[in-house]
Subunit: 162 residues, 2 copies
DNA sequence: TATATTTGCGTAATCAATTACGTAACTAAT
DNA sequence: ATTAGTTACGTAATTGATTACGCAAATATA
């Protein structure tokens, strides 16, 4: 047994979640690549979001994607460079820069949709093959921590020991 | 509903895994801190490993922890700076630098154990409160992909469509 | 209307980890 | 003993994301 951590159980939930995430991300990148599609997994959230909304400001996006606004700027810069995204200054609020898919970005969508469908399908198969469904488990955790944070639970446990 | 992604289901398993991992990591850091313990979550795997083995080479550690060897060197450097880890050249193989906990590192262990016990316990509570156990789900995924990789499954699915 | 506060965005610095590459030591084959 | 190949390690460059900071526009308040 090379791997020390599977045994460690609850202590390293976070590490195992991260490891699995990295693994799937990496495989995703490979998949785009082997299909000859010039696209990276990290672009998906922003691209997908913009494909469903007309235009959005940087901060809106950051909130919706749950990432920092500099991250949005960074990703947007890359997608603008690819020509898939353009931006305009908001008329109502001159501070805002609104992002949206360009024509080129929209015309790329059908090709992406095909890949996304494949990914979705395989992921569905993975999840359905599980006797313990990881998406349900995640969903449950999210709800659990939304009602009372991890940190609060830590505090309470330590109080209860006194 | 601000958050677009809970709805996206299987397509973004990876992002959700990562998000949950980050969340727990962050809370962990806060926890060490609020207990006045000068320790960071990222140090845990190496520290814990060294506390269970006498001494190990860089590559051994990288394999066991499933991280790159430069990452090990980096972490080791930090722990050496803290005075918790020392290294010696291997007698059998002059290329190897063996890492182990220093006396100071060993004497710090009991304090860490207390914290780790608390973390373990709260994590156990979290997991046990779940009707769908996230650790079991992860375990299952790991076994699943070990038997046939994600990439292979992708290929097979695409073949099957033809 | 003037002033203070908040909000949206951009840049810079930083962080954690990776890949790529170079060097030295070991091993195997001739 | 030489040469070729592999292994262990270290450094540098890159990646992807964060926090910190500052400016300008908008909003609230006196």
């Amino acid at each position: 047994m090379q791997d020390v951590f599977s045994k460690l159980g609850p202590l390293i939930i976070a590490s195992r979640l991260k490891r699995m995430s990295d693994y799937i991300m990496r495989a995703g990148a490979e998949f785009y690549n082997s299909n000859g599609v010039d696209f990276e997994p990290k672009w998906f959230p922003l691209y997908y979001l913009l494909s469903h909304e007309k235009e959005l400001g940087i901060m809106d996006i950051a909130q919706k994607l749950n990432i920092s606004h500099p991250a949005v700027i960074q990703l947007a810069k890359e997608l603008e460079k690819k020509g898939w995204v353009t931006s305009t200054k908001s008329k109502e609020d001159a501070r805002k820069r609104l992002l949206k898919l360009s024509k080129k970005g929209i015309s790329f969508l059908p090709q992406l949709q095909l890949i996304w469908d494949d990914i979705r399908e395989v992921n569905r198969q993975v999840v359905e093959s599980q006797s313990t469904n990881v998406l349900n488990a995640l969903e449950e955790m999210e709800v659990f921590f939304a009602s009372k944070s991890y940190t609060e639970r830590m505090k309470e446990y330590q109080e209860s020991k006194k």
